[in-house]
Symmetry: C2
Subunit: 589 residues, 2 copies
């Protein structure tokens, strides 16, 4: 590892790389190089002063419909631009975490499009094949990440804008559960369904960024769309995940190359131990059609329609009529659409919420059009692109798009119910080629993989639990943790003040006993799990005698809730402390 | 206690009482007396066969916008009536619980009104003063209960229809959290906000009925509006509740008699230990205006507007124009109203959700108009009545209206955030005159009070916890349970297999120790609390050594999670089993 370059050198390197790519349409505003150097220096100083900065020195771009203080927010429409006083809470959280803002990126105007061509700042060309579209609406953010110009970027996602361009450019796009990240300071598209999304080249970094964005402490005063993860949100997939997939009917018209990539992702999930079952997508697809074919367009009109009516000459010729077409939609039609969406949501919830299916794996996009194809039929080609993405926000799902192949981009999405974000991210890792999952994308991000640890994940509510016996990984009762959404955090040992005894239980269990002052104890192997609070409560409430839960002192000096046992059971039980732990005891016979 | 009358005699008594009251406008359909006798007999047989029937033989009425199989559902509009094959899930749940259906009641047509006069079946006169309105839209249900014709009744509540008529007729109206009770089989008014509500003469019986209606096992296949209570819903008010109240500005125009009744309820809350603080009602009142002055009326048009357009001569002359006025409302205006409501909800949530204020106490109604006053200004008088009720469902609150005075009806409402239903019911008991709270309303319902126990409350998620020391009521750490929404279920004792020892902790705590086979133990006083699962999890996770949670065997042979302690702490600790419990030990020591 070489010494880090100076702030000025790092800023110059960022600048040079962007300039060398020759993709001016990616950016709408760039931070001047001197200012960039100052930002790197400031982060260095904060780190040197001991601040914990989970994104120290990571560079990022911001889609130009999200406020950055002092920089115009154009939403891809120069005449619409105003300069905000305050950054959006999402941007503020990134800066507080030590990330360095590089600039604002191009987009389909008013975030209305999935192509990346609907902008007076230029059609954004694909990172891999410049004759093809980048995808949109978060076109510039995705291409900036794919080209390695920045480490990560913010997008927004209403109908797929955070996933379609990820797929086309071979990167990761996380579209979190609606409300997990504040949308304050974002120009609304369809406000009920808008999300801030994350682009990165690895799932690890994307999740780390999401952890920062989703921090409950991130200020979002009075944001009515912010929601906190509930106390039963799963922290990991179950031990044997069941994943739904598209059947042949749903794949009609999908490019053969994309189908092949999709099948490779499915095969990788199966190889990783998932059971894959075909799922009927009918209610999903019907919900998706409501966004553009129904009355929800009225939300777009409510957000910017009045401005467009007053500035007809300043608006993209494709985007303008889409939004103003909603001017005369009737409120009772919107009420009926809301009602129909509720019914479809209940159908989907019955499928995903109460069944064994914890995720759907779907192609992110059905085709990858060229710029010429879009120019010839700007509305039709765009509409077809949203087949597998548009329903996600309407149905209150979350999704992660990854590239399972490498080389020729081929996005697949893992998606599931609201608050299954951590489940989908883990499954997305499984669906991705190992080299990619480890962050070895040739861009010097190999350290991402090492950072892909517990603290880099979104902080969903959880309680720690130390287990020392039948609940250890691979032991007979471990499923009581995994079926409750629990996740193994680490394997460690107790402080050297415990005895382990073999209890007369069925199945056999050990009892962990804190020794009194003056008695000699040993260290005992334990696993520390994190468990959603609701699962923890039902787990503890269901424990049979003589097991008990109290504080367990660990070797590192910390203390976590964990397994103990009642005094009565200890009397006369065989002492197995010398084995070092239950698994070693079992192995020893 | 006399022997119960025969089914036929009970049916005849119901019939005779209704007939004697001379209020034909209360009912739209009545169950024939022979059929009623058969229903009583059937319930008797089920009870004799050992079925547990929490509402055995209780009579009830159903507002005629809720389906009862085989009986027309008119929604107060004869030409609109159709005969459903299936009863609404709410009705099915009541019948399954042994309640006996007496008939369908009159209402403001299409549940559009708060007066009770907008019906071709006749204006429903007030139960206490027939020159005044009954209130609506659930007019017949409220008056049938107030007159003692039935034990309880179902209403619906969108803008106050389950509370306003309760207030005018001196009874209890529970408007549960939206979705707690299925609205399947209900003619929609404003579907996003409609609730099924309960009328009874005591809080105890109303909560018992709600417990049946809210049973998660109640079938409501695919009802998109059904919601289950979350695992952090409080089970009781905190130990020292802070209750918000209206200030002088908000009470301008309220009848002096109603203000006096309101102040008596406030005084009763203060006397019961509540801290009452003035709250600014501005965001509440603005939200309320959105229901009728904004675009949400479009939901009413979406539900029945097409039918009204096709049947102009069949509709109430006041109701028809209200609903059809929404025909030309624009979807973008509805989108803007949804947006504004979201902002107001966030403001209210900041006040009620994150502060110490667990409830608002407000007058239910500002005035009590006469029938003549309504006839002179049917729209204006009606609109004024909803001042304190209309915002409740829009802001996702729950409410209980009770009569704090007795005699001259004067409703006050206790209301709070979604899922605080059990908090509001308990506070409503405190705000009610003791004689009323005990069910001594002269109608032979005194047994309600005795039934006002744990099993009669809605089954919100909870975990039981047996405490034996510092967490007992009145002891120094009891607040750790009450601040987590915990509720005392009962005081009992352990099975006679425990020792109690005095631990060397601060504050002083006892340790409960299960004795081994052959050792002699004693019984120890414990309190069994129910705690929301989320609170249970954080409580257990935060316990200090040497306390532990495991199973505690109780005197009745059951076993519940409860306090134990680590073996180390027991060695050499003083045995205080003979005291019978920690409180007795402290009193003796």
């Amino acid at each position: 590892m070489t010494a880090p370059a100076s702030p000025a050198a790092r800023a110059a390197a960022v600048e040079a790389r962007i300039d060398a790519d020759g993709r001016p349409e990616v950016w709408i505003e760039r931070v001047p190089v001197a200012e960039l150097a100052g930002a790197f220096a400031s982060v260095d100083a904060r780190a040197a002063a001991g601040e914990e900065l989970p994104l120290a020195g990571r560079t990022f771009a911001v889609k130009d419909n999200i406020d950055v203080a002092g920089v115009p927010t154009s939403a891809g429409c120069p005449a619409f631009a105003t300069v905000p006083d305050r950054s959006a809470p999402a941007v503020r959280a990134l800066l507080a975490a030590g990330a360095v803002h590089v600039g604002k990126t191009n987009l389909d105007q008013f975030a209305t499009g999935l192509v990346g061509t609907r902008s007076p700042y230029g059609a954004v060309r694909n990172a891999v094949d410049p004759s093809r579209v980048s995808g949109g609406s978060s076109s510039g953010s995705a291409v900036a990440v794919a080209l390695g110009q920045v480490d990560f970027a913010l997008g927004t996602d209403t109908a797929g804008s955070g996933r379609v361009p990820a797929a086309f450019n071979g990167i990761v796009g996380i579209k979190p559960t609606r409300g997990l990240v504040s949308t304050e300071g974002v120009v609304p598209a369809c406000r009920s369904f808008d999300c801030v999304s994350v682009f990165a080249r690895t799932v690890g970094l994307a999740e780390r960024v999401l952890a920062v964005l989703a921090d409950p402490a991130t200020p979002a005063t009075g944001d009515p769309h912010r929601r906190l993860p509930p106390p039963d949100a799963p922290l990991a997939p179950p031990a044997a995940p069941v994943v739904g997939r598209a059947g042949p009917d749903a794949l009609v018209g999908v490019d053969p190359g994309l189908v092949a990539g999709y099948e490779s992702a499915v095969a990788r999930l199966v190889a990783a131990g998932c059971t894959v079952v075909e799922v009927d997508l009918t209610p999903f697809l019907e919900a998706g059609r409501l966004l553009y074919e129904g009355a929800f367009l009225a939300e777009r009109y409510a957000a910017v329609g009045g401005w467009i009516d007053a500035h007809p000459g300043d608006v993209d010729p494709v985007v303008g009529p889409i939004i103003t077409s909603a001017r005369d939609l009737g409120a009772s039609r919107l009420a009926a659409d809301v009602d129909r969406l509720g019914q479809l949501s209940a159908e989907v919830e019955a499928l995903l919420g109460s069944s064994e299916v914890c995720s759907l794996v779907l192609p992110t996009v059905p085709t990858h059009p060229t710029l010429d194809e879009v120019a010839a039929d700007p509305v039709g080609v765009n509409a077809a692109l949203g087949r597998f993405t548009t329903f996600v926000n309407l149905l209150d799902l979350c999704a992660v798009s990854v590239d399972p192949v490498g080389g020729l981009p081929c996005g697949v999405s893992l998606l599931g119910p609201a608050w299954s974000d951590r489940v989908q991210a883990d499954l997305a890792r499984l669906a991705t080629a190992p080299a990619q999952g480890a962050g070895a994308d040739g861009d010097g991000d190999a350290d991402d993989a090492a950072a892909d640890d517990a603290w880099a994940r979104p902080a969903f509510p959880s309680v720690l639990l130390a287990v020392a016996g039948a609940h250890l990984s691979g032991q007979p009762l471990n499923h009581q943790l995994t079926t409750r959404g629990g996740r193994l955090v680490r394997t460690t040992a107790t402080a050297p003040v415990y005895r382990l005894v073999a209890l007369a239980t069925e199945p056999p269990k050990p009892g962990l006993v804190h020794v009194g002052p003056g008695s000699s104890g040993g260290t005992v192997e334990v696993e520390v799990w994190e468990v959603p609070p609701v699962g923890f409560a039902t787990f503890v409430a269901g424990l049979p005698r003589p097991m008990a839960i109290g504080q367990v002192a660990l070797a590192d000096g910390s203390s976590v809730p964990g397994f103990l046992c009642e005094p009565e059971a200890v009397d006369g039980a065989r002492d197995i402390t010398a084995s070092g732990g239950w698994r070693a005891h079992l192995a020893g016979g």
